[in-house]
C-alpha cells in the first residue's frame, strides 16, 4: 500500500524502504530528531548507558502497548489499562504475603487477575456486543472499586518479591537489563503470532471487516475474546514489572500508562480503526514516547507542561497521518 502513496519517489528507493509504512519511517525519524535535540541540550543523551536506561524504561510501556496493539488491530480499544496495571501489581504483591507458595505464584497470580479483567472485557465486546470503549471503562471502574476495597480494609502487603525485582531490574546477560529481554521476547512472540499464525491473520481480518471474517469461517467472537484476555494479561504483567522496578505497588501506578500506550500504538502507524499496522511501528512509538517523556523530565518540565505537550504532540502526529478518509 505504501508504494502507491509514495508514488514516483518510491521507484528510486531501496527495497526495504519502499516496503516500509510511511508512518513507521516518520516515527523513527522523530526518534532521531529527538535524540539530536537532546544531545544539543546535554552530551550524555547519546551515551550507551543513557540509551540502555531509556530502553529499560520503555520496556514496561512496550509490554503494555503490545496488548493495546492487539486490541486496536481488531478495531476496538482497551480503556481498562490503568487498573489492569494496578491490579496486576497489587495482586502479585498481595500473593507474596502467603508464605513461600505465595511468593512462587505471585507473578502468575498477578497476570491471571489481569487476564480475568480482559475476559470480562472480551465477553462484553464479543458476545454481548457492547462497544469496547464503554465496557472497558466499566471494568476499569470495577477493578478500581475492588482494589479500593482491598487496600482500605486492612494494610496490605505491597512490597514486590525478589523474583519481580529481578525481572525488572536484574541482568541475566551482562549489560542488557532483563526488562529489555522480556520485551524482546514478548515482541518476537507477537510478531510471530501476527504474521505467521491463523490467529494473527484473523486479527487483521476482523479489524478490516468483522462481517467478512465471520462469513469466511472464522470464529470472530473467540478471537476477540482471546485478544482482550491477552491484552488484560499483558497490562497486568506490565504492572508486575513496574512493581518490581519500584519495589512496591501503588494505587495510581497505572494512570500514567493509558494515554502513552494508545499513543505509542497509534503513532507507530497502527490504524485506530483496526486492520492495519505493524509491530515494528509500535516499537518505534513506544521508544518515541519514552524519549519524549525522558527529555521533558530532564528539562525539568513540570507535570502540567508535560501533559500539555503530550496531548498536543499526539494530536499533531495524528493529524499528520492518522486521519480518516474524507467522506464523499
Amino acid at each position: 500500500m505504501s508504494e502507491t502513496t509514495l508514488g514516483g519517489i518510491a521507484g528510486r528507493m531501496p527495497k526495504f524502504l519502499r516496503r516500509a509504512d510511511p508512518a513507521v519511517i516518520t516515527a523513527f525519524a522523530c526518534i532521531v530528531i529527538l535524540l539530536l535535540l537532546g544531545s544539543l541540550y546535554s552530551r550524555s543523551f547519546l551515551s550507551p548507558e543513557y540509551l540502555l536506561q531509556q530502553l529499560k524504561v520503555a520496556s514496561f510501556l512496550g509490554v503494555i502497548a503490545t496488548g493495546m496493539m492487539l486490541v486496536i488491530l481488531l478495531g476496538q480499544i482497551d480503556l481498562s489499562v490503568p487498573w489492569s496495571v494496578a491490579t496486576g501489581a497489587m495482586m502479585a504483591c498481595a500473593a507474596a504475603a502467603y508464605g513461600s507458595v505465595g511468593v512462587a505464584l505471585a507473578i502468575p497470580f498477578g497476570v491471571l487477575c489481569g487476564v480475568a479483567i480482559g475476559l470480562v472485557n472480551g465477553i462484553g465486546v464479543a458476545y454481548l456486543r457492547i462497544p469496547s470503549m464503554i465496557i472497558t471503562l466499566a471494568t476499569n471502574a470495577v477493578a478500581q472499586g475492588l482494589m479500593v476495597v482491598y487496600t482500605g480494609g486492612f494494610s496490605p502487603q505491597d512490597s514486590a518479591t525478589s523474583a519481580m525485582r529481578y525481572l525488572a531490574t536484574g541482568f541475566t546477560i551482562p549489560g542488557v537489563p532483563n526488562a529489555v529481554i522480556i520485551w524482546a521476547l514478548i515482541g518476537a512472540a507477537t510478531v510471530f503470532v501476527l504474521t505467521r499464525t491463523s490467529f494473527g491473520r484473523a486479527v487483521y481480518g476482523i479489524g478490516n471487516r468483522e462481517r467478512a471474517a465471520y462469513l469466511s469461517g472464522i470464529d470472530t467472537r473467540r478471537i476477540v475474546l482471546i485478544a482482550f484476555a491477552v491484552s488484560g494479561g499483558l497490562s497486568a504483567f506490565g504492572g508486575v514489572l513496574l512493581a518490581g522496578y519500584a519495589s512496591k505497588a501503588a494505587q495510581s501506578m497505572g494512570d500514567a500508562y493509558l494515554l502513552p500506550s494508545i499513543a505509542a500504538v497509534v503513532l507507530g502507524g497502527t490504524s485506530i480503526l483496526g486492520g492495519r499496522g505493524s509491530y515494528l511501528g509500535t516499537v518505534a512509538g513506544v521508544i518515541l514516547i519514552t524519549l519524549l517523556q525522558s527529555i521533558l523530565s530532564v528539562m525539568q518540565m513540570p507535570e502540567a507542561g508535560r501533559q500539555i505537550i503530550y496531548g498536543v504532540v499526539i494530536v499533531a502526529m495524528l493529524l499528520l497521518y492518522g486521519r480518516a478518509p474524507a467522506s464523499r
Partner: protein, 326 residues
C-alpha cells in the same frame, strides 16, 4: 401507529430513567435518617446537578455517535479557572463567569474542530485534548485553593422560598436556554441525523458538519457550567486527575441509564439528566444503609457495568447473525 405511540416509543428511555430515579429517590429519602425534608432534597439536588450538567454535555456528543472523554477535564479546568476569576464586585464576577463559560465553549470547539475537520477518531482525540485541558488546569492550580464570590455561590446553591433548591432551578433554566433550542434547531436535527446515519444525512443535504461542531462546542459549554457550579459548592478550585476522570466515567453511566443510545441518533438530554440523578442517588443509597464508604467506588462500577450490559438484551431480538457485526 397513533401519534402518541410514536411519542412514547421515542421517549421510552427518558421515561424509564425518570422511573428509576423516582423509585431510587423514594427508597433513599424513606431510609434517610432525616426523612424527606427540604434539606435532604437540597443536598441531593446539589450533588446530582453537577453530574447532570456533565451528562448533558456527554449526551450532545453521544447523539452524534461520537464520545467526549475530555468532559471531565473541561469540568476540572473550568473549576480551576472559576476559583481565580469568579470573585470580587458584581461586575468582576460577571466578567469571570463569562470568561469561564467562554473557555468551555473554546475547549468544546477545539474538540469539535479536531474530530470533524481534522477527521480524527473522537476517542483518541478527546483523550489527548483531555490531557491538554488537565495540564492547563494544573498550571492554574498546582495546589488546591482559590475562592469564589460567596454571595453568588450561596444564592445558587441555596433554596428559593425555603423549598425549591436553587441549583435545580438553574438546571431547568439551562435546559430551556441550551438544550431545547438546540434540539429543535436545524443543527440539532443534523446532529441526530448524523448520529443515526451519517451517509444518509449527508446525501439528504443535512448540514452534518455544522451540526456536529455545534454539538461538541455546546458540550464544552455545558461541562463549563458544571465546573462553575462545583466551584460554587466547594468554594475552591482543584486540579484532581481522579475526579476529572470520575466525572467523565459517570457521565457515560448517566447517559446510558438515561436511555441515550451509544451508537448515536437516539435519546435526549432530559433522559441523561434523570440518568445522572438516578446514578447519584444509587451511589448515595450506600450511605443511608450504613455501608462502609470504601465500597462506593466498587458499587458505582458494578452499576455502570450492569447498565451497559442491559443494552445487550437487544441481541435477543436479532434474527440474522450478521447483524451482530455493525
Amino acid at each position: 401507529m397513533k401519534d402518541w405511540r410514536y411519542w412514547l416509543a421515542e421517549q421510552r428511555g427518558t421515561l424509564l430513567a425518570f422511573g428509576i430515579f423516582i423509585v431510587m429517590f423514594a427508597i433513599y429519602s424513606a431510609n434517610h435518617p432525616a426523612g424527606f425534608t427540604a434539606n435532604v432534597v437540597q443536598t441531593a439536588a446539589n450533588k446530582g446537578v453537577l453530574l447532570a450538567f456533565v451528562a448533558m454535555a456527554q449526551t450532545l456528543v453521544v447523539i452524534t455517535a461520537g464520545i467526549d472523554l475530555s468532559v471531565g477535564m473541561i469540568f476540572t479546568l473550568t473549576n480551576c479557572m472559576a476559583s481565580w476569576l469568579v470573585i470580587g464586585t458584581g461586575l468582576e464576577t460577571a466578567f469571570g463567569v463569562l470568561v469561564v463559560l467562554g473557555t468551555g465553549l473554546l475547549c468544546g470547539a477545539v474538540n469539535g474542530a479536531i474530530v470533524i475537520y481534522g477527521r480524527l477518531q473522537p476517542i483518541v482525540a478527546t483523550i489527548a485534548t483531555g490531557a491538554v485541558f488537565f495540564g492547563l488546569a494544573l498550571l492554574l492550580r498546582p495546589v488546591p485553593g482559590g475562592s469564589v464570590n460567596e454571595d453568588l455561590a450561596d444564592f445558587l446553591t441555596g433554596r428559593f422560598f425555603g423549598v425549591v433548591p436553587a441549583s435545580f432551578v438553574a438546571l431547568l433554566v439551562i435546559v430551556l436556554v441550551v438544550w431545547v433550542p438546540f434540539s429543535r434547531s436545524e443543527f440539532g436535527r443534523a446532529a441526530y441525523a448524523a448520529g443515526s446515519s451519517e451517509t444518509a444525512a449527508y446525501m439528504s443535504g443535512v448540514p452534518i458538519r455544522r451540526g456536529k461542531f455545534l454539538a461538541y462546542t455546546l458540550a464544552g459549554l455545558l461541562a463549563a457550567i458544571g465546573g462553575l457550579f462545583v466551584t460554587f459548592f466547594t468554594y475552591t478550585g482543584e486540579a484532581a486527575y481522579a475526579s476529572g476522570n470520575a466525572y467523565t466515567l459517570f457521565s457515560i453511566a448517566a447517559v446510558v441509564l438515561g436511555g441515550v443510545s451509544l451508537f448515536g441518533g437516539k435519546g435526549s438530554a432530559i433522559g441523561a439528566i434523570f440518568g445522572a440523578l438516578a446514578f447519584r442517588t444509587i451511589g448515595d443509597l450506600l450511605f443511608v444503609f450504613d455501608f462502609d464508604p470504601l465500597w462506593q467506588p466498587l458499587f458505582q462500577g458494578v452499576i455502570l457495568l450492569i447498565a451497559v450490559s442491559l443494552g445487550a438484551f437487544a441481541l435477543f431480538r436479532v434474527r440474522n447473525r450478521l447483524e451482530w457485526f455493525l
